[in-house]
C-alpha cells in the first residue's frame, strides 16, 4: 500500500462524510459507522506496525505531493519510531473512544462527525513532515474540541471550552510566527527534513534585537507546545477542560492530545534548534519538577475524582519533561554519558505512551462511576468494593499503574527517566522522587475513600461494570501489564529513532558559542 499514511489520516474524514449522509434519527447506524471506520484505522496502524522497520532511525513510508508550489508548501508525510507509538495510541484510543461514547444521546450525528474530525487532526499532526501541513492539522483539532466540550460537556462547559480554545490558540499563533521566522531565515522551505539540516546552521549567531534568534524561536515554539502539554504555569485550562468534557473526550484529551506538545518539542525544537536544547534543558527539568510536585499536590487536594485524575496528568507529564532534558547527558560537556541520554529520552517517550494508556483507563473508569452515581465526589462514596468487585479490581489496576508500581508500564518509564536524568540533574531527580510518594498518596487515599470503609446506603444497588465498558478498559489494562513486564518490543521500536535524535542534538548543538 503506497498511501498507507494518507489512508490513516483521511479515513476518519471519509467516515465523517458517510455520517453526513445518514439521517439523524438513525443513531445506531451512525455509531456503527464511526466504530467501523476507527476499527479499520486501528487495523491499518497494526499493519503499519508489522511492516515498520525498527532498525531504521529515519522516516519511513514517506509521501510527497505538490501542494502550493508558489510558497514552497508540500504535502509530506512520514513515520518514524517517535511518531509511530503516538499514531498507534491515537488509533487505539480513537477506536475505544467510540465505544466510550456509546451512551451519547444528544445530537449523535454531530458528535461523531466532530469526533472523527478530531481524529484526523491528531493523526495529521503526528504524521505531517511539512511545517505548514503540521500547523493546519494542529489548528484543525481546535474547533471540534471546542464543540465537543462546549455542547456535550458538563455544567461549566461554555467557560471550559472557550478557555481551552483561547489558551491553545494563543500558543499556536506564537508557533506560527516561529514557523514563519524559520521559513524566511532557513531557505524558504516548510519541509521539516530540510529545516532539520539547515536551521541549526542558518540560525547560528543570528541576533534579533540583541537576542539570539535560536532562543527566540525556541521560546516561541516552546510556549506553543507547553500550553498543550500542559507545562506549569500554562496548565490551568486542563483540569477545567477535563472536568467539563464528556468522558470520551477526556480520554482523548489526556490520552493523546497532551502528547502533541511533547511530540512537537521532540520533533521540532530538538531537531531544528539543538543549541536551544542545551540552553533550555535546565529550565525544562525545573519545569518538569514543578509539574511533578505541583500536579501531585493539587491532586491530593481534590474532592472531585475527575479533577484528581486531571492533575495526575499534570504530574505525569512532568516526568516526561525531566526525561527529555536528560538528552544533554550525552554531550562531552555534561559527561559524555550516552546511556543516560538514551534512558532519559527513551523513558520520556515511553512515559508519553504509558500515560496515554493509563490516563485513558482512569478517565474511562471515572466515567463508569459517574454514569451510575451521577457525581464524582470522592467522599461521596465508600465501601464500593463490596458492590462492584470487578470495577474495583480495574480501578486498582489503573491506580497502581498510575502511581508507578513495579509490574506496570508506568514504573519502567519513570525508572528510566530517573536513571537517565540522575547524572545531570541530581537535585531535581531526588526531589522529584518525592513526587512519586505524593503520587502514591493521592491515588491510594482516593482509592481507600471510595472503595473501603462503611458502605454508603445510597449506592447499595449500583450495577457492576458492563461488557461494553469492560471492552474499553481491558485492552488498555492488558497493554499496561504486558509493557510493564516486557517493555522490550516498545523500546526496540523507538530506540533507533531516538539514537538518531540524540546524535543530532549532541553533534549539532551544545558547543557553539551562539549566544
Amino acid at each position: 500500500m503506497n498511501y498507507l499514511l494518507s489512508w490513516i489520516i483521511w479515513l476518519p474524514i471519509l467516515g465523517m462524510v458517510t455520517i453526513a449522509f445518514i439521517p439523524r434519527d438513525k443513531s445506531e447506524l451512525i455509531k456503527q459507522v464511526a466504530a467501523i471506520v476507527s476499527g479499520i484505522q486501528l487495523l491499518l496502524t497494526i499493519y503499519l506496525w508489522r511492516i515498520f522497520d525498527q532498525s531504521v532511525g529515519t522516516f519511513q513510508f514517506m509521501e510527497r505531493a505538490e501542494w502550493i508550489p508558489s510558497f514552497n508548501i508540500t504535502y509530506i508525510l512520514g513515520v518514524d519510531g517517535l511518531s509511530f507509538p503516538m499514531v498507534f495510541l491515537m488509533a487505539l484510543i480513537g477506536f475505544i473512544g467510540v465505544f466510550v461514547s456509546w451512551n451519547i444521546d444528544k445530537a449523535v450525528k454531530g458528535y461523531f462527525s466532530l469526533f472523527l474530525l478530531l481524529n484526523t487532526g491528531v493523526m495529521g499532526v503526528f504524521l505531517a513532515l511539512d511545517f505548514f501541513l503540521f500547523y493546519i492539522f494542529w489548528e484543525v483539532m481546535l474547533l471540534p474540541m471546542y464543540f465537543l466540550i462546549g455542547i456535550w460537556g458538563g455544567p461549566q462547559r461554555e467557560y471550559a471550552a472557550i478557555k481551552f480554545f483561547l489558551y491553545t490558540l494563543a500558543g499556536s499563533v506564537l508557533m506560527l510566527i516561529a514557523i514563519l521566522a524559520l521559513y524566511f531565515t532557513c531557505g524558504k522551505t516548510f519541509d521539516m527534513l530540510v529545516l532539520m539540516e539547515t536551521a541549526p546552521v542558518a540560525l547560528n549567531g543570528m541576533l534579533w534585537w540583541g537576542m539570539s534568534a535560536i532562543k527566540v524561536i525556541w521560546v516561541l515554539l516552546f510556549i506553543g507546545f507547553a500550553i498543550k502539554v500542559p507545562v506549569f504555569p500554562f496548565h490551568t485550562w486542563l483540569p477545567l477542560a477535563h472536568v467539563e468534557a464528556p468522558t470520551a473526550i477526556s480520554v482523548i484529551l489526556a490520552g493523546v492530545l497532551l502528547k502533541l506538545g511533547i511530540y512537537g518539542m521532540l520533533r521540532i525544537n530538538y531537531t531544528m534548534l539543538p543549541d536551544g536544547v542545551f540552553w533550555f534543558a535546565g529550565a525544562l527539568a525545573v519545569l518538569g519538577l514543578i509539574n511533578v510536585i505541583w500536579g501531585a499536590m493539587c491532586a491530593l487536594a481534590q474532592k472531585d475524582l475527575k479533577k484528581l485524575v486531571a492533575y495526575s496528568s499534570v504530574n505525569h507529564m512532568g516526568y516526561t519533561l525531566i526525561g527529555m532534558a536528560a538528552v544533554i547527558a550525552a554531550s562531552t560537556m555534561n559527561g559524555d554519558n550516552l546511556i543516560s541520554a538514551q534512558a532519559g529520552m527513551g523513558g520520556a517517550v515511553f512515559q508519553m505512551f504509558n500515560h496515554g494508556t493509563i490516563s485513558a483507563m482512569l478517565f474511562i473508569l471515572v466515567g463508569v462511576i459517574y454514569d451510575r452515581a451521577h457525581h464524582r465526589d470522592i467522599d461521596g462514596f465508600g465501601g464500593l468494593a463490596a458492590q462492584m468487585p470487578i470495577y474495583t479490581a480495574f480501578v486498582a489496576v489503573a491506580f497502581f499503574a498510575g502511581l508507578g508500581l513495579p509490574g506496570f508500564s508506568g514504573f519502567i518509564s519513570e525508572a528510566m527517566i530517573f536513571i537517565g536524568a540522575f547524572p545531570v540533574f541530581k537535585t531535581i531527580v531526588i526531589i522529584s522522587t518525592l513526587g512519586i510518594l505524593l503520587n502514591a498518596a493521592y491515588f491510594l487515599w482516593a482509592f481507600q475513600r471510595i472503595f473501603f470503609g462503611p458502605a454508603n446506603e445510597k449506592y447499595n444497588d449500583l450495577p457492576e461494570i458492563n461488557t461494553r465498558e469492560l471492552f474499553t478498559v481491558v485492552p488498555l489494562a492488558v497493554i499496561t501489564l504486558i509493557l510493564g513486564i516486557y517493555p522490550r518490543p516498545f523500546l526496540d521500536m523507538i530506540s533507533a529513532t531516538l539514537n538518531v535524535l540524540i546524535d543530532s542534538v549532541v553533534s549539532l548543538g551544545g558547543f557553539t558559542s551562539a549566544f
Binding site: 502550493i68 508550489p69 508558489s70 510558497f71 444528544k106 445530537a107 500547523y135 493546519i136 489548528e139 484543525v140 481546535l142 474547533l143 471546542y146 464543540f147 462546549g150 455542547i151 462547559r157 461554555e158 471550552a161 472557550i162 480554545f165 483561547l166 490558540l169 494563543a170 499563533v173 506564537l174 506560527l176 510566527i177 514563519l180 521566522a181 521559513y183 524566511f184 534579533w208 534585537w209
Partner: protein, 496 residues
C-alpha cells in the same frame, strides 16, 4: 494618452456609466412596488462591466492625460468592487429594512458608488483622488441614510457627512501642501520633485503625510479616524453596512498602496522586491503604529458589543488593522498579502453580514441573544455562520487563515524590525477569537437539538450564501488559483 484615445481603454467605466443612466431612466418607468426591478438592470450592467474588465487585457497605460491609470492592478480591484456590488444587490432583495422604501434609486446610487470606487483604484493624480473620494463619500452618505423613517439611519448619515467633510477637508489641506512643495498634481512628477527637495522641507512633508493619512485612514476606518464607523455601520441598512465594510475599504487600500508607495516611495514605483521611503520620511513607522492601534482598538472594543452588527463593525476595523500591517513593509510580498487578504475578506465578511441580514429578517433582531440556539433550529445557517466566524478569526482550514498567513509572512519576511508588529497581530487574532466564537457559542452551546429544522425560505439567499461559503472554505487549503490571480494582477503603472 489623449482624451479621445483613452476611451478605447475605458470600456468598463463607459459601460458602468451607461448602466447608471439606464438605471435612473428605468427607475422612472417603474411603479413604487416594482422599483426593485431596477436591480436587474444594474446587475446586467455590472455583468457586462465585469466582462469588459476581464477582456481589457493587461495593458498598462495612463489615460486622460495622466489622470487615471489602466493596469492589471486596478483591474484586480475593479473585479472585487463589481463582485461585492453584485452580491450586495442580490442580498438586498431579501432585506427587511428596505421593504418600506422605494428602492429604485438605491440601486442607481450603488452603481454610481461603484463608479467612484473605479476611479479611486485607478487614480494617479491627486485631483482625481479627491474627486473619487468625494463621489464615493457622498454616495455613501445617501445610502447610510436610506432608511428615512429610522432615526438611527438618519443619525448615521449625518455623522458620516460631518466626519467625511471634516476628514476630506484635512486631506485636501495635506494635498495642497504637497502641491505647494512640488508644483504638480501627478503622482510620479510629485515623487521626482520630493526626492530632490532638501531636508529643510521634511517638516512640511511630514505634515502633509499626516493630513493625507487622515483622509485615507477615514476611508479604511483606521484608528484614530474610525469613530464614525460603529455608528454609521449600525444605523445603515445592513446591506449597505456590508458593502461599506468591503468595497470602499478595498478601494481605499488600493489608493493607499499606490499613493504612498509611489509618491512617498524611493521612485522605483514598486518594481523591485522591496523599496524605501523617499528622503527617509518616517511614514512607514507611523503606519505601523496606526496598524497596531487599529487592530487592538477594533478588537478590544468588539469584545464589549452586544449587537452582532456593531461587533462586525468593530471587527472590520480590526481587519483593516491586519491589512495595514503590510503597508509599512514596502515590499511586493506585503502588497500581495493585502491583495490576498482583501479577496478573502470580501467573501467571509459579506458572508457574515448576509447571515446577519437573514437572521434579522427571520428572528427580528441583531443582538447575540437573537442567535441563541440558531445552529439547532437552522443548521444550514448555523454551519455557514460558523464557517464565516472561524474564517474571520483566521483559523485553518478556512480562507481567513490564508489571508492572515500571507500578511504575517510578509511582515516576518521584512526582517526583525517589524517582528513586534507580527506579535501584536498574532495576539490580536487570539483576542478576536473570543467575540467571533461568541456567536458560535450562542448558536450551538445554548439550546438543544430541535425537532423542526428551518431551511432558508428564499432560494436566492441560499445561493448567495453558498457562493460566499465555497471560496471561504476552498481557499483555506487550495489557494493556488488565488495566489496566481494576485500574481498576474501585480502589474502596476510605473510612470513614464
Amino acid at each position: 494618452m489623449s482624451n479621445f484615445n483613452s476611451l478605447a481603454y475605458y470600456w468598463p467605466e463607459l459601460i458602468l456609466t451607461v448602466t447608471i443612466l439606464v438605471a435612473v431612466i428605468a427607475d422612472l418607468c417603474y411603479r413604487r412596488e416594482q422599483s426593485i426591478n431596477v436591480a436587474w438592470w444594474v446587475l446586467g450592467g455590472l455583468a457586462l462591466t465585469l466582462f469588459a474588465v476581464r477582456m481589457g487585457g493587461s495593458s498598462v497605460s495612463p489615460l486622460f492625460m495622466g489622470m487615471v491609470a489602466s493596469d492589471p492592478f486596478s483591474d484586480f480591484f475593479k473585479v472585487l468592487i463589481l463582485l461585492s456590488t453584485a452580491l450586495v444587490i442580490l442580498m438586498s432583495f431579501n432585506s427587511n429594512e428596505l421593504k418600506d422604501y422605494r428602492v429604485g434609486e438605491y440601486f442607481s446610487i450603488l452603481s454610481i458608488l461603484s463608479f467612484g470606487l473605479f476611479l479611486m483604484v485607478s487614480a494617479i493624480d491627486i485631483l482625481m483622488v479627491y474627486l473619487a473620494i468625494e463621489i464615493v463619500s457622498i454616495m455613501s452618505f445617501f445610502l447610510a441614510g436610506y432608511l428615512k423613517k429610522n432615526p438611527h439611519s438618519n443619525e448615521a448619515s449625518l455623522k458620516y457627512v460631518i466626519y467625511g467633510a471634516f476628514s476630506s477637508g484635512i486631506m485636501l489641506y495635506g494635498l495642497s501642501i504637497l502641491f505647494g512643495l512640488t508644483g504638480t498634481t501627478k503622482f510620479f512628477e510629485m515623487q521626482n520633485a520630493i526626492s530632490s527637495l532638501g531636508s529643510d522641507s521634511n517638516l512640511a512633508l511630514i505634515l502633509s503625510v499626516v493630513f493625507i493619512l487622515v483622509g485615507f485612514g477615514y476611508k479604511i476606518s483606521a484608528v484614530p479616524f474610525h469613530f464614525w464607523t460603529p455608528d454609521v455601520y449600525e444605523g445603515s441598512p445592513t446591506t449597505i453596512t456590508a458593502y461599506l465594510s468591503v468595497a470602499p475599504k478595498a478601494a481605499g487600500f488600493a489608493l493607499l498602496i499606490r499613493f504612498f508607495n509611489q509618491v512617498f516611495g524611493d521612485g522605483t514605483a514598486m518594481t523591485s522586491e522591496s523599496w524605501m521611503a523617499v528622503n527617509n520620511l518616517p511614514w512607514p513607522e507611523l503606519m505601523a503604529v496606526l496598524a497596531a492601534a487599529t487592530m487592538t482598538v477594533g478588537n478590544l472594543v468588539a469584545i464589549q458589543q452586544n449587537s452582532v452588527k456593531r461587533m462586525l463593525a468593530y471587527s472590520s476595523i480590526a481587519h483593516a488593522g491586519y491589512m495595514m500591517m503590510a503597508l509599512p513593509l514596502m515590499s511586493q510580498s506585503g502588497v500581495y498579502g493585502i491583495m490576498i487578504y482583501l479577496v478573502v475578506y470580501l467573501f467571509m465578511n459579506l458572508g457574515a453580514f448576509f447571515v446577519l441580514i437573514y437572521v434579522q429578517s427571520e428572528v427580528g433582531g441583531e443582538t447575540f441573544n437573537d442567535f441563541d440556539s440558531l445552529g439547532w433550529k437552522m443548521p444550514f445557517i448555523g454551519i455557514l455562520m460558523t464557517l464565516f466566524m472561524v474564517s474571520l478569526t483566521g483559523l485553518p482550514p478556512t480562507a481567513g487563515f490564508i489571508g492572515k498567513f500571507y500578511i504575517f509572512a510578509s511582515v516576518i519576511e521584512a526582517g526583525s524590525q517589524y517582528y513586534w508588529l507580527a506579535f501584536v497581530g498574532a495576539l490580536n487574532s487570539v483576542v478576536s477569537l473570543y467575540y467571533y466564537i461568541r456567536v458560535v457559542k450562542h448558536m450551538y452551546l445554548i439550546g438543544e437539538r430541535s425537532e423542526s429544522i428551518g431551511l432558508p425560505s428564499s432560494n436566492l439567499v441560499t445561493l448567495v450564501l453558498i457562493v460566499l461559503a465555497i471560496p471561504t472554505f476552498i481557499f483555506g487549503w487550495y489557494f493556488g488559483p488565488l495566489t496566481d490571480w494576485v500574481n498576474q494582477s501585480f502589474v502596476i503603472y510605473q510612470g513614464m
